[in-house]
Amino acid sequence: MDSAHSDAASVHGQRSGIRGGPAVALKILVAGGFGAGKTTLVGAVSEIRPLRTEERLSELGRPLDDTAGVETKRTTTVAMDFGRIDLRPGLALYLFGTPGQDRFWFVWDELALGALGALVLADTRRLADCFPSVDFFEQRGIPFVVAVNCFEGTEVFAVEDVRGALDLDPGVPVVLCDARSREDGKGLLVRLVEHAAERRAARRG
């Protein structure tokens, strides 16, 4: 697998990056409803790894995590996926698949901090599932691209239909994709970074 080669090569490159100069790590989030293809997409463009985090429930105050009667339950485990793409020695892009369950929204705040942008995967059979992700990134001013995962057997929605249904700002790119395709995944990431650059330039100019 070619990603394994690039991984090995870049580990050394990155070390010299750190020793010799600044090494840069960037992160992009992959969000969307449960089963929309987040894990598939992360796996298509990078070597995927599982990641666990423990969160203290007492600090959350989320209605769904009502701790009444379970006084001993102070922490909960949140699982997510992540992948690494080495762009050149000293420059790595990390993809984080956001936890799908709504009750783990609190993890998103940390994930979103300093993120370059986000891909929101939409499943046209359950388009409403990605409303919360769209809201989240809109509210925080994080650039995002909506990727409509065209599952086999699903009607291919027109991009404009999806845009209308999600009530997206005109500037937000909507792209049809197959989350299993490496080329599509790369294309989505390129589109997202282009979008982030455009927004940056617009804000500056």
Partner: protein, 148 residues
């Protein structure tokens, strides 16, 4: 600090604390020695400096020659050594260390805090996006992605 509740499926590594006796049946000889996660961190749940160990902060071993000679030789646990061994082949992000050690990120952060206190690691925090050399870096990312 109490141990974390087991919220994982039974096939996952049962190192999380389990309070219900009926869940103890997961454990067998192959599970190896078990310690509650926060016993590893002696109950500490936060690193010394909050936000220092971002998920994508890069951890690199410090050149022993550059280590502060005034510091006492640290007493390290097996988990500390596991992290040091992982980083021998090159720097790793905090998230990667969590994944490779199968420890929750919150635990990894505490252990990394110990290693940092002992002056054994260098930490490169991610560049705050406001300070990014905008276009040039973004273009570099785009070109890198296209070349994959």
């Amino acid at each position: 600090m109490t141990g974390p509740q087991a919220a994982e499926p039974p096939e996952s590594r049962p190192s999380g604390g389990n309070r219900q006796p009926e869940e103890a049946q997961w454990f067998d000889d192959e599970a190896g020695p078990m310690v509650r996660l926060f016993a590893m961190t002696r109950g500490r749940t936060r690193p010394v400096v909050d936000g220092f160990f971002d998920l994508i902060s890069l951890i690199a071993l410090k050149d022993p020659a550059e280590r502060d000679g005034q510091l006492p030789t640290p007493v390290l646990d097996p988990e500390h050594h596991a992290i040091i061994d992982l980083c021998r082949s090159g720097p790793l992000a905090v998230a990667e260390i969590g994944s490779y050690t199968d420890l929750p990120v919150s635990v990894v952060r505490v252990l990394l805090g110990d290693l940092h206190d002992a002056d054994l690691i260098d930490v490169t925090r991610p560049v705050p996006l406001a300070e990014l050399p905008d276009e040039r870096l973004l273009r570099e990312v785009i070109n890198g992605l296209r070349a994959l």
